[in-house]
Symmetry: C2
Subunit: 215 residues, 2 copies
């Protein structure tokens, strides 16, 4: 009953966690991993692991578990991890610099090939191996490096303009850290990460527990 059909969004969001968890198993060595173990490694529960993996296919062995290497291969296949997706970072402020230099990106197939910034002092420089260009060069950069993903780490005010430029250059995947809503054609996928919002959610629960709890 292995269905290569639609994979639920919630499952897609967890597949990278499983892949990360499987890093605990050395390559080349044959090892089996149970849904229970993998659940621990990924920080979810075993039922979810099994249900999620069943969406990819029937890769486990009843009574035994999953072959770690084979499972990693299959998840990688589903996620398209074999591909390398070049990334351009737009906005080289504090956050942009950190992202451009983030080893976790390159390591997982998302090399930062270039950056843009509107500050004339930064344009033309190379920061941690990443060349900084003027925003007007975006189209060129995208074409030259075959950029697949744009990361927006500009101030909120410049974010929409940057998004428009990315879309105009043909980029269809955007990850934005700007605290603002971006509009783009439907075929463009935007993931928005607002760090302050995350803290506010933590703050809400703190607030709640302090009210309910002590003074």
């Amino acid at each position: 009953m292995a269905s290569p059909g639609r994979i639920p969004e919630a499952t897609v969001a967890r597949l990278p966690l499983y892949l990360r968890g499987l890093d605990a198993f050395p390559v080349g060595v044959t090892a089996t991993v149970s849904s229970d173990e993998l659940a621990d490694l990924a920080g979810v529960n075993a039922a979810k692991v099994r249900k999620d993996l069943s969406h990819l296919g029937t890769y486990g062995t009843r009574g035994v578990g999953y072959d770690a290497t084979f499972l990693r291969f299959q998840i990688s296949l589903a996620l398209g991890v074999a591909n390398v997706w070049p990334v351009v970072v737009c906005g080289m402020g504090n956050l942009g610099r950190a992202l451009a230099n983030h080893t976790g990106f390159t390591d997982r197939g998302f090399p930062v090939v270039a950056a843009t910034d509107s500050d004339p002092d930064k344009i033309g420089t190379i920061v941690d191996g990443v060349p900084v260009h003027a925003p007007s060069q975006l189209g060129d950069i995208v074409r030259r490096f075959d950029v697949a993903i744009g990361v927006i780490s500009t101030p909120a005010g410049a974010a929409q303009g940057t998004a428009d430029a990315l879309v105009a250059a043909g980029v269809t995947s955007i990850m934005s850290f700007a605290p603002t809503v971006l509009s783009a054609p439907d075929e463009v996928e935007i993931r928005s990460v607002d760090l302050a919002t995350e803290l506010q959610i933590l703050g809400f629960h703190l607030h709640r527990s302090r009210i309910a709890g002590d003074s």
Copy 2:
């Protein structure tokens, strides 16, 4: 039927977006905002806005909309935004430095009061106004500044130890950027943001569309 009862998690996650959207309205000026407008400002749909706000209370006027100032006040109240929650940043690598210097945190009531790092060259220095201490000082820092939230931006290997130290110091809210699972007592709330995972989700959809689409 205004219920100050339980607010659904999904709603809580959107309240900061509404608050952010309301920034478009100048303070002091009386203005009304419709669920439709607010939906645009927050990047969701109008039905969701109304349902979400109805969980806070009955603050709108039929036929008119919501009073922007009053609504902002009520959402702030629900989120506990009036409180200031001091933050400690653990791990002053690229990302940690960017976070410590992130104006969006302080602006929204999350001042970064101190940082820790295991690098002896950094300990004792002040980076962008934030003093860097040794990890062993965490307990002290938390007590002295009444720290409410710990941000973990250490390498994955040091993350669990850092989390343990934060918990031991009495911190019950943690935001982690380390690509690993953290374990902590149930009463501790952990929000994990793995940037590479986010990109992998984008990568999945790119992969999918390239398979389905052209060569």
